[in-house]
Symmetry: C2
Subunit: 155 residues, 2 copies
DNA sequence: GTCCTTGTTGCGACTCTTTGCAAATCATTC
DNA sequence: GAATGATTTGCAAAGAGTCGCAACAAGGAC
């Protein structure tokens, strides 16, 4: 997981490689896994205390638009960012227990192609999150005893 | 598009049908098409000035959880809500021009079933939004003249 | 009706994210 | 290297949505 490619892409597309952007990129690359904007801020401020959270968000948007980082919105807390590397995948997010299941990228290829074919629509299916219920949470809901009529509300 | 069913569902599931909830529901039902939380607030406050925006959000979450209303998150502005009626569909949202294309519900049936089969995951594909580029915006990007190196940035 | 439990509301404070703007920075052209 | 114009940043403020909590209903048991 390196960010060399990202630097090149930035320059090549005419955006400036500013110290701030470099630091944000390095932080994302340095972290294994996901980071939030605030975490990036804390890390970057260790060497450059003046960086503003707005700059970080703007940088993240830019990097996302260039498909250099991907964003995961867990819904309910801050968004997570990670370097768009090789191990890319979609997410199945269980609304019951919060667990996320990785879905191979290729899984949505069919959909992608039929949208292109039938609607001439180029969907951006880079890093997709599908919400629902995992098998365990589904099982927990079947056979709700008559006793506790409100059990289902809790999920 | 009536909300009678919604009232029954609320009562039947053990939730209380409060005046506030009723007013929110009536506003959504009364509006043709989508409404934002703030619009609901403005409308409801005409007859009951004390309703709080938090109550509206809480009611909307509840109704969404009961599949009585659907939420569309246009990303970049406030979420839109509408009564879950018969003409349900998914959305293709163009990030270039903002246009939305309606996608038949059945379109994601395959995906839905293979997720169930292969991952035992019951995806909530009630009202789905896919981001990407429509044909026009795609066309606008091809053949960018060398003249304006920054043209692509604007999309 | 009174008591009790549970659900719901309004308020205020808070979080996360975006936006407007003036100042600073950088690439280009002369 | 100074002038010019486009980008980018930091700051402050706003937007959108959420949360904790005390006060307020509403339904059931007695």
């Amino acid at each position: 997981m390196h960010h060399g490619k990202a630097l090149t892409t930035l320059k090549e597309t005419g955006y400036r490689l500013t110290p701030q952007r470099l630091m944000v990129l390095e932080t994302i690359a340095g972290a294994r896994g996901h980071v939030t904007a605030e975490e990036i801020g804390t890390q970057v401020r260790r060497t450059y205390p003046y960086i503003d959270i707005a700059t970080i968000y703007r940088t993240l948007h830019l990097l996302k638009r260039l498909h250099l980082v991907t964003e995961i919105d867990p819904g309910g807390s801050s968004a997570q960012y990670e370097l768009a590397g090789d191990g890319r995948h979609h997410h199945l997010i269980c609304e019951g227990c919060g667990k996320t299941i990785d879905l191979p990228l290729a899984y949505l290829d069919n959909l992608h192609q039929s949208l292109r074919r039938e609607f001439e629509f180029e969907a951006d299916l880079d890093h997709f999150a599908l919400r629902g219920r995992c098998s365990q949470c589904l099982a927990a809901r079947t056979g709700t005893p008559r006793k506790d009529r409100n059990a289902w509300k809790r999920l």
